[in-house]
Amino acid sequence: MTIDDFIEKFAFAIEVEADTLTPDTRFKELPSWDSLNTLAVIAMADADYGVTVTGRDIEASSTVNDIWAIVSSKSTAAK
């Protein structure tokens, strides 16, 4: 699993085109970002990586890479 794969999945979760995201994208500043996106990212991390990401994790994160760092550090599948 690479960050490119993760960006694809992250984009699917928050319903944007993957090519609009980079590791440095500050996802909460996207105009479409809302509370459902938080739930979707939590669900994606669970479904695709078997990892528990909390709402607090997302609140404390700024960029896509911040979330990837949490997911990849917790996931055996991501390594």
């Binding site: 459902l36 739930l39 939590i42 669900a43 607090r56």
Partner: protein, 244 residues
């Protein structure tokens, strides 16, 4: 108010079920306390002594209902407070998650009341209270279709059960709280204190969530003879949230 009465409470070891159990015990009731965790049930027995009849049992083990409920004494009231909260957003819909939520939140109370009715365990004049929510019958929150559906179903159950059981003087009602300050709150949102504070600010009365005791007080009212002519209804306890 409840001296000489025996009531069954599901989810008795935590949250609203625990608060309700304590309130009923304090008013002289005997409580058949249903919970999954034998240790927490034992703690409840320590608190309530002989007035607590512990029933350690997984309410989603439907095949065991008849056997488990057979020794339960005739009841003057039932409270279904057991339940789980999990998100299940459409884009990541999990049938397994959905069925897990439905089993405990929705199928269990129906199967429970059905088995108690079939076994003639409900005394004439008894009262049943199902713990619904404003989420489902009154409002929606993104990502919660599975949970909200179960809580809306309970308000329908209350109406239908009320009609089926009215000839025996048995009343069936729901209590529908908004967010309640219990451990489930943390499971649902897993939010920081700042985000929780912003959510609590949406409740006009006190800018806070309900306490479990405030919800237990509404349950206690519907169980009591003070609510003798109320059945098939849903009592909202939400600090004015749905008044907005």
């Amino acid at each position: 108010m409840f001296e000489g009465k025996t009531l069954l409470v599901t989810g008795a070891t935590s949250g609203i079920g625990f608060a309700t159990t304590r309130r009923l015990l304090a008013e002289g009731a005997k409580v058949v306390a249903v919970g999954r965790n034998p240790q927490r049930l034992a703690e409840l027995v320590q608190h309530g002594g002989d007035a607590v009849l512990p029933l350690a049992f997984d309410l989603t083990d439907f095949a065991r209902y008849r056997e488990v409920l057979a020794p339960v004494p005739a009841l003057d009231g039932v409270v279904h407070s057991a339940g789980i909260v999990e998100n299940n957003p459409l884009r990541f819909f999990s049938l397994e998650t959905h069925q897990r939520i439905v089993a405990i939140n929705q199928t269990a109370p129906l199967a429970l009341v059905a088995e108690l009715a079939r076994g003639n365990k409900l005394n004439a004049g008894s009262a049943i209270v199902l713990l619904s929510s404003i989420l489902g019958p009154e409002v929606g929150i993104k990502g919660t279709a599975s949970y909200a559906g179960t809580k809306a179903a309970l308000t329908a159950f209350a109406r239908v059960m009320a009609l089926e059981l009215a000839h025996k003087g048995i009343r069936v009602n729901c209590v529908a709280p908004g967010m309640v300050q219990t451990e489930l709150v943390d499971d649902l949102h897993q939010l920081s204190e700042e985000a929780l504070q912003a959510d609590r600010a949406r409740y006009p009365l006190g800018k806070r969530y309900a306490t479990a005791l405030e919800v237990a007080a509404a349950i206690r009212f519907l169980l009591s003879s003070d609510a003798a002519f109320m059945t098939g209804q849903t009592l909202v306890v939400d600090g004015g949230f749905t008044a907005q």
